[in-house]
C-alpha cells in the first residue's frame, strides 16, 4: 500500500467520511480517551513544558547534524556485524529488501507495525515476487485480513472498524466461530499469529528511534509482536525513515518518555526493545543476520527548508487525537497513510501539491495540534506556510478564488471602491438571499453554502453605524 489511499478526489473522500456514522462515533470516543490519557500523563510529570523544550532541542540538534549521526549509526551497525543500506527512493529500498529475501530464499515474512514500509509500499513489492507477508500488529492484521483496508490512524490503524465488523472479517476469512468480544477476538489472533512467528523466515520491523552512538534502535510496542519478529526469524530487516534517530541512549530516554505519554498516556509501553546488530555468536535466539535500510524518499528535500520541523515528528499522533477536522472526516479522508494535522503538513511535502493541495486547508487553524505536539512542531503555522506557497508560488488555487482575491485586493486598496462595494453588497446578494441567509451561493461562495448558510450583509454598514452612534453610554 503506497502513501496514497482511497479515492482520488478530496471532496468524495471527505463525504464518505462524513456519511460513516459508526466511524465518526468511534473516532469521537477514541479521541476523547486518548486526549484524557495524554493530558493526565503530561500533568503527572508536573513540568511537561520543560520536557517539550528538551524534546524540541534534541530534535533540532539531530536534524541539523543528521549526516554526522547517520554515518555514526551505520558504522556502529557494521561494527556489530549488521548490514546497512542507504535508500534514496522507495524503489531502492524495496529492491534491496527483495534482494535479501531472494538470497535467503524466504517464503514467509512476519512484519511488525511500520509506517515507513507502508509509505514505500514494501508489502506490494514483496507479494509481487511471491513472498507471503504477514502483518502481526493486531490492528494491521485485521486490516490485512480485510482485503488490505487502509489504516486510518498512525497509532491505532483499525480505529475506524467496530468489533462486529472485525468478528465478521475473522469469520469470513479465517473461519472464526466465537463472539465479538475483544478478548476472544484477540485470543484468536494470538493463536493464529503464534504459528506465523514460528514459521517466518524473515522478520521485518520499523524503527521508532535509532541510537547513533552504538548502532542500536528501539521498538516501542505493547503487544509483543515486534519482540517476536526480532527473536524468532533467522534474518531481520529493519526499515527506518532517515530522521528517526537520536545521538545517544540519554536522548533515547527523553524521546521514548515523550512518545509513550503523548501517544497513549503511558509512562512506558509494555515493551521498549532496544536491539544492536544481530544476536551475538554465543546467543541462541535472535536473528543471525541483520539489515538496516535507511530511507530518504523525499525527506532530504524537506531539510533546509521552512518545513524542516516537520521532520522532528516522532509519530505519536497526539495532534491527530485533538484535531476537530479529523474528528469529523476520519483518517481515510486525508487520502494518505499520514492523516490529521501532521499528515496535512507532511503528505504534500512527500507526495507533492499536485495530489494533496487540499490537505493544508483541511484545518480550522485552531492550533490545538501545536499545543499538544511533544516536540513543539508549529503545525498550524506550517499549514499556513503551505497555503501561502500553494497560492503564491504554485499558483494552484482555483481560478475563481484568484479572481476574487485579486479583485478584493484592488477594491480594498481604494477607499472609494471599498465604500461603493460595501454599500452595494446587500443589494448584490438579493437574488441569492432568503430569510436573511444565503443557502445556495454562487461561484466561490458555493462550497461554503453547500454546508451552511451565509448571513446576508446588513443594510447599515459598520462605518455608518459607527459615525451616527450616540457617544458615551
Amino acid at each position: 500500500m503506497p502513501m496514497h489511499i482511497g479515492e482520488k478526489e478530496f471532496s468524495s473522500r471527505v463525504n464518505k467520511g462524513l456519511e460513516d456514522d459508526f466511524m465518526r462515533g468511534a473516532v469521537r470516543s477514541a479521541q476523547g480517551r486518548l486526549q484524557t490519557n495524554r493530558a493526565k500523563a503530561a500533568d503527572e510529570l508536573g513540568d511537561w513544558e520543560e520536557w517539550r523544550y528538551l524534546g524540541q532541542e534534541i530534535r533540532q540538534h539531530t536534524m541539523e547534524n543528521l549526516d554526522f549521526y547517520l554515518k555514526q549509526l551505520s558504522e556502529k551497525v557494521a561494527e556489530r556485524g549488521g548490514h546497512v543500506y542507504f535508500a534514496e527512493t522507495a524503489e531502492d529500498a524495496n529492491n534491496y529488501v527483495k534482494q535479501v529475501i531472494n538470497k535467503k530464499n524466504a517464503k514467509k515474512v512476519a512484519k511488525s507495525k511500520s509506517m515507513v514500509t507502508e509509505e514505500i509500499a514494501l508489502n506490494d513489492a514483496l507479494e509481487e515476487q511471491g513472498c507471503e507477508v504477514v502483518e502481526t500488529d493486531l490492528g494491521e492484521y485485521i486490516l490485512q485480513i480485510d482485503d488490505h483496508d487502509p489504516p486510518s490512524h498512525i497509532v491505532a490503524p483499525a480505529l475506524h472498524k467496530n468489533k462486529e465488523q472485525i468478528r465478521d472479517v475473522f469469520k469470513d476469512k479465517l473461519g472464526y466461530t466465537n463472539t465479538e468480544k475483544p478478548e476472544e477476538l484477540t485470543l484468536f489472533a494470538r493463536e493464529q499469529l503464534r504459528k506465523e512467528f514460528l514459521a517466518a523466515d524473515v522478520g521485518i520491523t520499523g524503527c521508532n528511534f535509532a541510537v547513533a552512538e552504538s548502532g542500536s534502535f528501539a521498538l516501542v510496542t505493547n503487544e509483543g509482536n515486534a519482540r517476536m519478529v526480532s527473536t524468532l526469524p533467522k534474518t531481520q530487516i529493519t526499515v527506518m525513515g532517515m530522521e528517526r534517530i537520536v545521538p545517544t541512549w540519554e536522548e533515547l530516554d527523553v524521546m521514548v518518555s515523550l512518545l509513550t505519554r503523548a501517544a497513549v498516556g503511558q509512562k512506558l509501553t509494555s515493551y521498549v526493545t532496544a536491539l544492536t546488530g544481530p544476536k551475538d555468536e554465543t546467543e541462541v535466539d535472535g536473528p543471525e543476520e541483520f539489515h538496516l535500510v535507511i530511507v530518504d524518499n523525499g525527506r532530504s528535500k524537506i531539510l533546509g527548508t521552512e518545513f524542516q520541523e516537520a521532520l522532528h515528528c516522532i509519530r505519536c499522533a497526539a495532534c491527530i487525537n485533538v484535531c476537530p477536522v479529523y474528528r469529523h472526516v476520519g483518517g481515510h479522508a486525508y487520502g494518505s497513510i499520514y492523516p490529521g494535522p501532521i499528515g496535512a503538513v507532511l503528505t504534500p511535502l512527500l507526495g507533492g501539491y499536485e495530489d494533496y493541495k487540499e490537505l493544508p486547508y483541511a484545518s480550522s487553524l485552531c492550533g490545538a495540534c501545536t499545543e499538544v505536539c511533544p516536540v513543539k512542531i508549529p503545525l498550524h503555522e506550517q499549514l499556513i506556510l503551505h497555503r501561502k506557497k500553494i497560492v503564491e508560488d504554485e499558483k494552484k488555487s482555483g481560478f475563481g478564488e484568484n479572481v476574487a482575491m485579486s479583485g478584493f485586493g484592488i477594491m480594498a486598496g481604494s477607499s472609494r471602491l471599498f465604500n461603493t462595494a460595501t454599500r452595494m453588497a446587500p443589494y448584490l446578494v438579493t437574488p441569492y438571499a432568503k430569510d436573511n441567509a444565503i443557502s445556495k451561493g454562487p461561484g466561490p461562495v458555493k462550497p461554503w453554502t453547500d454546508i451552511r448558510d451565509l448571513p446576508v450583509p446588513q443594510k447599515e454598514r459598520f462605518r455608518d453605524w459607527f459615525k451616527s452612534r450616540k457617544t458615551g453610554g
Partner: protein, 239 residues
C-alpha cells in the same frame, strides 16, 4: 564477529549536507541540553520509597507485586507459579538463581508439586525455544528496575535468552530491591556509560512493563496479546 557492509552512504549523506547548505560534518559535539527535567523525577527517593512507587505503578499496568525477603523467596515463588497453574517453567541461566538459593529448590519442585523447571540452554537453542514456547511460566531476574514506569530491564546474553520473558504464557520477574532506580534515565545513562567506555552493549535490551496488551479493537484494553498474558513481580529485600 565479521564486520557488516555499508552501501550508498556517501551519495546519500552528501545529499543531506547539501540540503542543509553546508559541507559534510566530520565531528559534532553533543550540546548540554538547556532543560533536563528527567533528573528531577523521584530524585532523592530512598530504595523503600521507590518500592512504594513501583507498587503503585504496578496497579495501572495489570501486574501483581509481592514483597518478600530472601528467606521466604522460595515459598513465595512457588505460590505464584501454582497461581499461574505452572506445570512447565523456563528460567534464564543466571547465577542469581543460585545466589538467592533457588537453584537447589527447583529440583524439589518436580517431586513435591510435579512442576518441571527448565533452564535456558545456550548449547541447544532449538530445544530452549521449543520448551519456552510451550512453558506456562517464564522467570527472569531484573537487571535494572524502573520505579516510575514499573519496568524491569533485561540485558540479553548467552544464558539470558530473549524468549524466556516472551514466549511462555505468563511471566515472573524477580526484582532484587537494590536494582531499583527512579526511572528510565538512570538505565540509559548506564548504557551510555558502557558505550563511552567501549564496553559491549547487549544485543537486546528489553524494557518490560507488565504483560502484553492491545487496545486495537474499539480502544478496549485487552491484556495478553503476543507476549505473556499475566505478569507478577516479586521484590526481594537484599540489603
Amino acid at each position: 564477529m565479521q564486520k557488516g557492509t555499508i552501501q550508498n552512504s556517501d551519495i546519500f549523506l552528501d545529499n543531506i549536507a547539501k540540503s542543509l547548505g553546508r559541507e559534510r560534518k566530520e565531528t559534532v559535539i553533543r550540546p548540554t541540553w538547556h532543560h533536563q527535567p528527567q533528573w528531577d523525577v523521584l530524585a532523592n527517593y530512598t530504595q523503600n520509597q521507590l518500592v512504594d512507587v513501583l507498587e503503585a505503578q504496578c496497579k495501572s499496568i495489570h501486574t501483581d507485586l509481592i514483597r518478600t525477603c530472601k528467606e521466604n523467596l522460595n515459598e513465595t515463588l512457588l505460590k505464584v507459579i501454582k497461581n499461574f497453574h505452572g506445570k512447565t517453567v523456563m528460567t534464564s541461566d543466571d547465577s542469581r538463581f543460585e545466589m538467592f538459593g533457588l537453584k537447589d529448590h527447583f529440583n524439589e519442585y518436580k517431586q513435591r508439586e510435579d512442576i518441571d523447571v527448565h533452564t535456558w540452554d545456550k548449547t541447544d537453542g532449538d530445544t530452549s525455544i521449543r520448551v519456552a514456547e510451550r512453558a506456562d511460566v517464564g522467570i527472569t531476574f531484573s537487571d535494572i528496575t524502573l520505579a516510575e514506569s514499573g519496568t524491569v530491564v533485561l540485558f540479553s546474553d548467552e544464558g539470558k535468552g530473549r524468549s524466556v520473558s516472551l514466549l511462555p504464557a505468563t511471566y515472573i520477574a524477580l526484582i532484587p530491591q537494590s536494582t531499583l532506580v527512579p526511572r528510565m534515565s538512570q538505565a540509559t545513562k548506564e548504557i551510555h556509560r558502557q558505550v563511552e567506555n567501549r564496553e559491549r552493549v547487549s544485543s537486546c535490551v528489553n524494557f518490560i512493563s507488565g504483560p502484553s496488551n492491545s487496545a486495537d479493537i474499539e480502544m478496549n484494553l485487552v491484556v495478553g496479546v503476543h507476549g505473556p498474558i499475566k505478569a507478577t513481580y516479586i521484590v526481594i529485600e537484599d540489603q
